[in-house]
């Protein structure tokens, strides 16, 4: 069985790699298989990690608690389980997505969409403000607390010459890059000059990220080629 798995994996790997030559029936087969299996897998995951634990179980517990409450055998735990009935509200809003299937009622789908985008933006904006602005501004300013001549810093906390250079370069980079992203001001004179320096900083950063990621991708390819050579070709001996 393990041998069969190795051969299937190797066959599909080669099918996908065949795209490097051109589109062909083998690539199409692997592509459709990959897409189909991933959709099926996604549905199963959504049911097991979403529908059952977040909707079905709490709701069925709440309904059975309600029944117990009606029949009179109640306890504080049963009363607390009754709160699960409120889950009907988000579930009902979620079910409105199915209104899309009816041409007469498909306008109803706007309600869950509005709620989702409202919640999403409401959660994302303060988090972005905190992580991308406050935190980064602090990190840019903070090293200067250990540089100034008027600051009493213990010797072990003093920055090296390279660290000081890095801190100054960071401030220059942040200010110039920020200038590039001014949209409502014409980029002329000093603003143009600063924004050009900002673009240079961005490109240096992108170049470093490019090299770093390419190395990571090459490692993935080496791993895959290693699989083909060691496990797949290595399995020839077991067959022949």
């Amino acid at each position: 069985m393990e041998l069969f798995g190795i051969w299937v994996a190797a066959f599909l790997t080669l099918c996908i790699y065949s795209f490097l030559y051109r589109d062909n029936p083998f690539y199409r087969f692997a592509e459709h298989l990959f897409v189909g299996i991933s959709v099926g897998y996604g549905i199963v995951i959504a049911i097991h990690q979403g529908v059952i634990p977040l909707a079905w179980e709490p709701l069925s517990e709440a309904v059975s608690a309600l029944w117990t409450e009606i029949t009179g055998e109640t306890t504080p735990e049963i009363r607390s389980a009754l709160w699960g009935l409120f889950k009907i509200i988000p579930i009902a809003f979620g079910l409105l997505f199915f209104a899309r299937l009816s041409p007469r009622h498909n306008w109803l789908v706007r309600y869950p969409i509005a709620i989702l985008i409202g919640f999403g933006a409401g959660i994302a904006i303060p988090n972005m403000l905190q992580a991308n602005i406050f935190e980064q501004t602090r990190a840019t300013i903070e090293p200067f607390g250990a540089i100034g001549p008027f600051v009493d810093v213990p010797p072990e906390a003093r920055l090296s010459a390279l660290d000081i250079f890095g801190a100054i370069l960071m401030v220059i980079g942040v200010i110039c890059t920020l200038t590039y992203f001014f949209f409502s001001v014409e980029h002329r004179g000093p603003i143009n000059w600063l924004s050009k320096v900002g673009i240079a900083f961005l490109m240096i950063g992108f170049g470093a990220a490019f090299g770093n990621t390419v190395m990571g991708r090459l490692a993935l390819m080496i791993h895959r080629v290693g699989f083909l050579i060691n496990e797949w070709i290595g399995s020839f001996g077991a067959l022949f």
């Binding site: 592509e31 990959f34 989702l116 607390g145």
Partner: protein, 383 residues
């Protein structure tokens, strides 16, 4: 003789005293000052227990927490904590019940000492997180700047927007696809509907759809997320309606492909190779699949306009696409394309925010240089 006797007595007393002190210091002692309080600024799902640290030579090797519910039996909760821990946040409480705690100090000689029982505490949720007041004020100021600029733009005053080459190419790309009689492929990336880049991408798509409605150019949008699919269908449909071309709208052109990252990339690559779109838009949040798609689009000779705030994918788009919107240019795109006073005012408000950051950095650096660190303290408190 008397002197030597006295000396012996003094030495004996001293030895006795030192031995006694040593023995006393080694005697296991129960944790002191144990308190249990409702954790502030949470949703009422935890209680925080604190106690005094034991001295380093006390022999304590760890602590265990015991809890009861509604004055019932005490039971141990969680794993053994390290000897240097003096705070424990119990996140496994039963909401609505009162809990009391005992801290058990575990000693290296396998003995244990139990603290006194704390007062019973009931966790309560708070409506407001008092630690986020500064963040809230910053948001209010930022929102006020945006609202003021929207008001200003709506009053008819012109708002300047600098040239963004990637967005000027949008018209060119759509025109090229129309002339060639081929489709436009719009890829929204892998972000969910609450992702800021995805929201920006959807608004750009709304503007692109207005043009394709005018020119009757087929617009194909494979989606990774079913919720994004629904939003995109609504937005594109609205654009076609606004342009007076509901007949040109084809719902089947906006479809769900798969939600698995590389299966999505494989499916999109297959579409590119077989349908050969004349223009490809890659706008939104992308991960490792970015280069796979951008490189395939490049190989078929399509004009490609990319835009993302994923800094690790930007280099690949810059290398493989004709135009790339870098980070915030993606957010500025809607204002740039639509020239709507609402978006233009919002864009100018954001620039005001950047001026504040700009000034804050220069001011903060100057203050830090002179040893005044109240700006970093304030930012740290917010973070």
């Amino acid at each position: 003789m008397t002197n030597s006797k006295s000396t012996l007595w003094v030495v004996a007393c001293l030895v006795f005293f030192l031995c006694g002190t040593y023995a006393f210091s080694q005697e296991p002692a129960a944790p002191t000052n144990v308190t249990a309080k409702d954790t502030p600024n949470d949703d009422g799902s935890s209680i925080t227990i604190t106690w005094d640290a034991a001295s380093e030579d006390s022999g304590v090797v760890g602590y265990k927490i015991l809890r009861n519910s509604d004055a019932g039996e005490f039971e141990e909760i969680g794993k053994q904590l390290d000897a240097n821990v003096t705070v424990y946040k119990d996140k496994t409480i039963i909401k609505g019940k009162t809990h009391a705690y005992i801290v058990r100090a575990v000693y290296d000689n396998e003995t244990s000492m139990y603290s006194a029982q704390t007062a019973a505490v009931k966790a309560k949720g708070q409506w407001f997180h008092t630690g986020k007041v500064a963040l809230f004020l910053a948001m209010l100021l930022f929102s006020a700047a945006i609202l003021w600029n929207i008001y200003h733009a709506r009053s008819g005053k012109e708002v300047f927007v600098r040239r963004i080459p990637g967005l000027e190419a949008v018209e060119e790309a759509i025109g090229r696809a129309t002339e060639m009689g081929r489709s436009i492929l719009y890829i929204l990336g892998l972000g969910d509907v609450d992702n800021v880049a995805t929201i920006a991408s959807m608004t750009i798509l709304g503007q692109v759809a207005r043009r394709t409605a005018d020119y009757e150019t087929p617009l194909r949008v494979p989606c990774r997320d079913p919720v994004v699919l629904n939003v995109v269908r609504e937005m594109v449909k609205t654009s076609y309606l606004d342009e007076g071309r509901p007949d040109a709208y084809n719902e089947d052109d906006i479809f769900f492909l798969t939600n698995e990252q590389f299966a999505y990339a494989a499916g999109v690559n297959g579409m590119m190779i077989r349908e050969k779109p004349a223009a490809i838009f890659l706008q939104g949040q992308f991960y490792a699949e970015s280069l796979l798609m951008a490189e395939t689009g490049n190989s078929i000779g399509a004009i490609q306009i990319a835009g993302t705030d994923s800094e690790h994918q930007l280099p690949f788009f810059i290398a493989a696409c004709d135009y790339t919107l870098i980070g915030e240019e993606l957010y500025a795109a809607t204002a740039y394309l639509s020239k709507d006073p609402l978006f233009l005012g919002s864009l100018r408000g954001q620039d005001w925010g950047k001026v504040v950051i700009f000034a804050g950095i220069i001011f903060g650096v100057s203050l830090e240089f002179f040893g005044i660190n109240w700006i970093t303290t304030l930012l740290q408190r917010v973070s």
